[in-house]
């Protein structure tokens, strides 16, 4: 999963701050100056002074074509962060570049052009325009691009078919179910074929069953489209399911960034560990992440044909009755490493006190 990504950054955030309150930029600069650039102490100073520090010194890159999930509990600043990224609100400090262009410095005209051509966004409460039909909703971004009506309609029908809403083109949002509404939201965000896809808790308002359907749908679409996506969620299972990489946010700070597996198997602190405690690790972690590559190979009488990319659950099932180390094979047929069945079981229980 994390292996075949292109290394270039589609979005790059450097030391991004979002502080609310009177004269936030000046006071942030002062606070940083007085603490010698120590973000934690500066944030503490600002909070003590009654300002709200929603995003604190956040730095990360989103690689082209990956699904980058920002996950945190309510109040962790994740919604603010995605709004800063899309410049729905203006960041207080830092640098956010999209394809190398600093968007915090973009003027309103440039911003409108960027949104018309490059950005698509899906909202938690759908944000459908109540006075427009499904088709009009989906073709609205195209209308803003200045596309002629016929072309708008063709494209709208195309995306609607893509999200499985063929036949509901003339309906109004109020006539649709929650799941259908979000499909419209997704179709609308994809109408202009954006380079960057922002999804702000797109499935949080839906029932569990519908939610799972749409997650699968999302994975299917993403497999075809390979967009660079920033996906916000508060649901660790959802993050594990769809992320290429996850950033865990706490009190406006990034606590850990890593693949689902890294987060699961090597949590940086108790906070992250607490988060991931109930996640069935065997289902999300892979053999490759716990195998060893020793200089000298131990004696290996058995070969249950473990693959690097197998989940730990699957691997365990394959070597239920084995007590000796077994080889792990790479996808190209060469031996990639060794794993002891005992360690497979151990990985599942490592974090359970």
């Amino acid at each position: 999963m994390a292996t075949d990504l292109s290394p270039s950054a589609a979005i790059s955030c450097q030391n991004v701050w979002q502080v609310f309150g009177a004269k936030a930029p000046e006071r942030l600069a002062e606070a940083l100056a007085s603490t010698g650039g120590d973000a934690r102490r500066a944030a503490a100073l600002l909070r003590a002074a009654g300002l709200i520090v929603a995003v604190q010194d956040v730095t990360f890159d989103v690689r082209e074509g990956e699904v980058f999930v920002i996950m945190g509990l309510s109040g962790s600043g994740k919604s603010t962060l995605i709004r800063t990224l899309s410049r729905l609100i203006d960041g207080t400090a830092g640098r956010i570049s999209i394809d190398g262009e600093d968007i915090l410095a973009a003027d309103p005209q440039r911003l409108i052009a960027l949104r018309r051509d490059k950005l698509g966004m899906v909202f938690q409460h759908f944000g459908l325009f109540p006075h427009m039909t499904v088709t009009d909703n989906v073709s609205f971004p195209l209308k803003m691009q200045g596309k002629p009506a016929a072309e708008r309609r063709t494209r709208a029908l195309e995306v609607l078919e893509l999200v499985g809403l063929k036949g509901r083109e003339g309906a109004y949002p109020r006539q649709l179910s929650g799941g259908q509404r979000q499909r419209v939201g997704i179709a609308r965000s994809l109408a202009v074929n954006p380079d960057l896809w922002f999804l702000d808790e797109p499935f949080s308002a839906l029932d569990p069953l519908i939610k799972r359907q749409l997650q699968d749908e999302f994975l299917r679409l993403q497999a075809d489209l390979k967009k660079t996506a920033v996906f916000i969620t508060h649901d660790i299972d959802e993050a594990m399911k769809i992320a290429d990489r996850i950033a865990i946010l706490r009190d406006g700070m990034v606590v850990q960034i890593g693949t689902p597996e890294e987060i699961l198997l090597n949590p940086v602190d108790d906070y992250v560990r607490e988060f991931t405690r109930d996640v069935p690790k065997g289902r999300h972690a892979h053999v490759g992440s716990i195998m060893e590559t020793p200089e000298t190979l131990p004696r290996m009488p058995d070969d249950p044909k473990l693959q690097e990319g197998m989940t730990i659950d699957a691997a365990l099932a394959a070597c239920m009755a084995l007590y000796q180390p077994v080889p792990v094979w790479a996808s190209n047929g060469k031996m990639a490493g060794v794993v002891h069945p005992r360690d497979l079981a151990g990985a599942l229980t490592a974090d359970t006190p």
Partner: protein, 678 residues
Amino acid sequence: MLRTLPPARLAAVLTLACGAICLMLAPVAPWVTKWPAGWTLPATEWIGAIVTAGLEAVKPAARLMADLLDYPMGWATWALTALPYPATIAATVALGLYLGGWRMASGGLAGLGFVLASGYWQPGMNTLALVVVSVPLALFAGAAIGIAAYERPRLRRPVQTCLDVMQTVPTFAYLTPLLVLFGFGPVVGLIASAIYAAPPMARNVLLGLERVEPDIREAAVMAGTTRRQQLFLIELPAAKRQIMVGVNQTIMAALSMVIIAAVIGGFDDIGWAVLLTMRKADFGNSLISGMVIVIFAVVIDRLSAALADDRPGTRLYGAFIILLAGFALSFLVGGLLPPAGDLALFNGLAAATDARLGAFTAAYGPALDALRNGAMFYGLLPLRIGLDQAVLPMTWGVQWTPLASAALFAAAGLAAAGLLWRGRFGWAVALLLATGIVETGIVDLPWPFVLFAAGAMGWVGGGPRLAGFALAMLMPILLMGLWAPAMLSLYLSGAAVIACALVGGALGLASAASPALWRVVLPVCDFLQTIPMFVFLIPVLMFFQIGEFSAFLAICAYAVVPMIRYTRHGLVSTPDEMIEAAVASGATGWQTFREVRAPYAVPQILLGLNQTILYAFSMLVIAALIGTTDLGQQIYLALGQGDVGLGLAAGAAMVMLALLADRLLQAFAAAQKAALGL
């Protein structure tokens, strides 16, 4: 010991003390009860001079505007009066069919049919012409204000305050400067109604825009809209429902004001017809012309309310055929139809009504008089001038003596001590204050006591700021020398509010308990809120003639509705979970009501009371037409004399009283709400 009291009790005790001191001082220091004339500033003259100078400066522009407005006025009047009535009726019925189906269409037909048959078609169309021109002005101005306030959040607070004032300024108060500005003529009524009707549009536009979901707004931004595209393509259409509610309220307000503006006279409209017939005590005809106003109000209200439902109209063909038929009828056989004015099918009815009414008042005159005198002698007068002056051999059959005062206070003191003994502090203070007020009378209350009490209430409800606000609202009234009429206004509205609180509260309570009753009360409430204020005067005049009691009844009839609505709503809107929790704890029905429903409803009921007070204040001015002596009367007099200074000063005094009552009650409602964690 005083230091250990909680602030609310401290304020109550101090207010009580202040009242007692004033009572004792009153005999030796007359300035306590009556603000000395020497301390009065000639503020009304100053205001008059300054405003008149200002008005003179803009007069040429205003006159130009009046001349310009004469054109659309003329066109509208021409169109509505020249159009044969079958065409007008057909247009209304077609619109009704299109917007609301056959029920609304037949309602429109019956209504306009009555108007035609009554013989008041012509004045009715003149009134409509005014509405037709003033409504677009009000809608446009209101929408512009609402959008401006939305776009510039810094403007919102001042705009809200401004709208509050625009709606509390008594309607007659700005007629006077408008008269100076625009000269006599229908244009004054036009402008006045546009001013009066713009605020609801502005409020609803602002409210609708604010309520657009943030996700919708952000979705528009992310689609790459410019600010203007976002506003006009997304936000305004998304707020359509709320905006249409504003359109409905604006139309109703414009109609109401156009009718009130008839007191200026000089224009043969339906309001004038009512006024004229009332003055001639021709109640049969004032009833019928009043009915015409009510019909206009109801038909226009239903039609414009249907705009807010976004069901697409489906009966386009039917509506078109009716329209066509109406026009065909009027142009083919129009010459054969009797002219609209000649129809007066109800002349006989009017005469019969008059005769019946005469017979009724002759038969039940003593009973009606007894009712009126009883209410006056035993209720209103003591409240107004106090028991010490109201209890006379002529009224109560005995003479009030200082000994009686002493006995009354002694009895109240004993009862209060008893209440205090049982821990009912609030009731004890309230009892003492009420005794003092009834003994003295609201009009004769010492002004230091009123100031102190208002300040103390402000302090308890909203801290030093509100206390300061209370004083800032009352001091100018004293200084302008309008204290006596202001206290009369306070007394009359106070009496009406007390009556409304009791009756409306009881009705609201009963409606909450019995859905069957609510099904009867609801349409009555709707009806009372639809008909223009002016019409309330007709029935009370018919039975009780000119006088304070009639004014009191008219105010009550108009102001009771919010009390009923809010009380019921507060009582029935308790969340089911709370009720279930109470029932699961084993509470009986009565216990659930007392422990859960009632406390939960208090903020709502206070807001209802607040609305009732504002309604009562706005009706005070209209009631001035049938004999009161308060601020409303001053405003009305000023209108007659063209005295801009007095009109504005008295209007301002009324606004200040209303705003004060409003802010105090809002503060208490907010405090109660916060205490409930809502």
